[in-house]
């Protein structure tokens, strides 16, 4: 289609519409005059009516008014006595007025119909625009989905890589370590010819190798938590804590520990993983209160906000300096010397990893030589999945 100047197009369109009014009335007149000449009477009214309706239908209200006016003029001029003049006799006035009214009503009906049609067309156009926008949005969603799928594949691949890495660490790194320990032990057996210094060196080799073994084991256990999918059920924390405390009390005979266990909530999570959390926190409390005459360990619950009660483990042990609080949950991060308190520094990292995998929060507070307190909270089942999805 030729691209016209819009001004020109508008003018042409206007000309066409009014032209249609003139032409259709002219055709009606052109047909009515010969028919009348051949003696057909009263055909002019239907023909003019047809011309008016046609104009109203195709050209709208302005041209239809023009058509009515022209029809009336022609009717008056050619078909009412006195012929060929615009004067109207009193006799024909009623008839004449009736035609005018009829023409106006017909035109207005048609125009209203047209307007309704126009509205419908606009509504359809609006719908089409909306459908187009929706299609674009769908395309966008599909594109994002593809991207997401791509990311997921990448992530899966890197996860697999990590898994095989952990596997080879587990298998290959441990073997030389075992040999190191084994041969050192054998050497120690034949140590009668060695002096004290050499024996001490062998002892150091053995201790280091064992320590490395522990580190590898801890690291593997830690990476396993990251890979395993938690199987969530309702877990009674109180029962879990009592179980763990009973187990730990087996190893703390001879120590004076005042346990205080308050009622704890039922939460939603992987039981074995949560048990690991509780074991780590409580055994830490036991470990860091070792130098106290009477250790006090309290396990309880505060309702930080009603939805997520915060469970805490408090002790009166060595505590820590709050300025290092950001290092507390790091892998192999330790805030005490190995001579003071043993351990690889994986416990709190494990705790944090498990709680984060559940979509929960964990934090610690401490005062040097006064004790420490660790809080954790788990989300309720209904928003647990959401929170897990957005957790790093």
């Amino acid at each position: 289609m030729v691209r016209w100047n819009p001004e020109l197009r508008k003018g042409l369109w206007w000309l066409l519409r009014y032209g249609l009014a003139v032409v259709s009335v002219a055709i009606a007149l052109g047909m009515a005059l010969p028919l009348q000449a051949y003696g057909f009477r009263d055909v002019e009214l239907p023909l003019f009516a047809l011309a008016i309706v046609l104009t109203a239908w195709h050209a709208g209200i302005g041209p239809s008014v023009l058509a009515v006016a022209l029809s009336v003029a022609c009717f008056d001029f050619f078909f009412t006595e006195p012929y060929y003049s615009f004067t109207v006799s009193i006799r024909d006035l009623a008839n004449f007025l009736l035609f005018v009214v009829w023409g106006v009503i017909a035109a207005s009906f048609v125009v209203v119909r047209r307007r309704v049609e126009e509205d419908l067309r606009q509504a359809r156009d609006a719908l089409e625009v909306e459908a187009e926008q929706r299609r674009q949005r769908e395309d966008e969603i599909r594109r994002l989905n593809r991207e997401l799928a791509h990311r997921a594949t990448e992530l899966e691949a890197s996860n697999k890589e990590l898994e095989s890495f952990a596997y080879s660490v587990s298998h290959d790194l441990r073997a030389p370590l075992r040999h190191l320990v084994g041969y050192s032990e054998l050497l120690q057996k034949h140590a009668s010819s060695l002096d004290d210094k050499s024996r001490r060196y062998i002892q150091m080799i053995l201790e280091s190798a064992k320590r490395m073994g522990n580190l590898i084991d801890d690291l593997l256990a830690f990476s396993r938590i990251g890979r395993a999918e938690p199987t969530k059920t309702r877990v009674s924390l109180e029962q879990l804590v009592n179980e763990v405390v009973a187990e730990i009390q087996q190893d703390t005979k001879g120590r004076d520990i005042a346990w205080k266990i308050s009622p704890l909530p039922i939460c939603y999570g992987d039981r074995s993983m949560l048990k690991l959390v509780v074991i780590n926190l409580i055994s830490n409390a036991v470990k860091f209160t070792r130098m106290r005459q009477q250790a006090e360990i309290e396990i309880g619950c505060v309702n930080g906000n009603d939805d997520e009660p915060e469970v805490f483990v408090r002790d009166n042990g060595a505590g820590f300096d709050m300025q290092y609080v950001n290092k507390l949950f790091g892998v192999f991060q330790r805030l005490h010397l190995a001579e003071e308190f043993e351990g690889t520094g994986i416990g709190l990292a494990t705790v944090q990893r498990i709680i984060h995998r559940h979509g929960g929060k964990v934090r610690g507070e401490g005062v040097v030589d006064r004790g420490a307190i660790f809080y954790f909270s788990l989300p309720k089942p209904r928003d647990a999945t959401q929170r897990t999805a957005s957790a790093p």
Binding site: H171, L177, G182, E185, L186, K210, L220
Partner: protein, 149 residues
């Protein structure tokens, strides 16, 4: 100790072999151990092929199997043994460094009799190997058709 079963050990690492044999020496079990260095050699022994073509046709009382082996790995050996009518009764103990649950699950699904993770600590390792040796070669009644001395 009247009868001793023969122990087939499948282990590629010579140091592990030496340490295991040292551990078994204390119970005079070391002489009963046949060492094969990879899966292929182990299968050769079991089927009396190649260098083992002339050995008596009996099965070992127990097979100590490492999982990570050159050529044919431990899982494949286990699969072959379990699918062979003549060999499927041999007690198989997986003796590996792998803590992986995946390996453990697969081994048990393939019908392993025991799964032992080699402890890093030498004393534990010695104890584990000794107990394994004593249990399978002395205490346990091996299935009929196993070699006896």
């Amino acid at each position: 100790m009247t009868t001793l079963g023969r122990i087939l050990m499948v282990e590629d690492d010579p140091r592990d072999v030496e340490l295991t044999l040292t551990a078994l020496e204390d119970y005079n079990l070391a002489n009963e151990v046949v060492v094969t260095r990879d899966g292929q050699e182990a299968l050769d022994y079991l089927y009396c092929r190649g260098q083992f073509a002339t050995r008596p046709q009996d099965n070992p009382a127990v097979m100590l199997l490492d999982l990570k082996l050159p050529k044919v790995d431990g899982m494949e050996v286990l699969q072959k043994v379990r699918s062979d009518e003549r060999l499927k009764m041999i007690p198989v103990v997986v003796l590996t460094s792998s803590h992986e649950e995946k390996d453990m699950m697969r081994s048990y699904k393939l019908g392993v009799n025991a799964y032992v993770v080699k402890p890093v600590d030498f004393h534990e390792f010695v104890n584990a190997v000794k107990e394994l040796g004593v249990f399978w070669a002395v205490i346990n009644q091996p299935p009929p058709g196993s070699v006896r001395r």
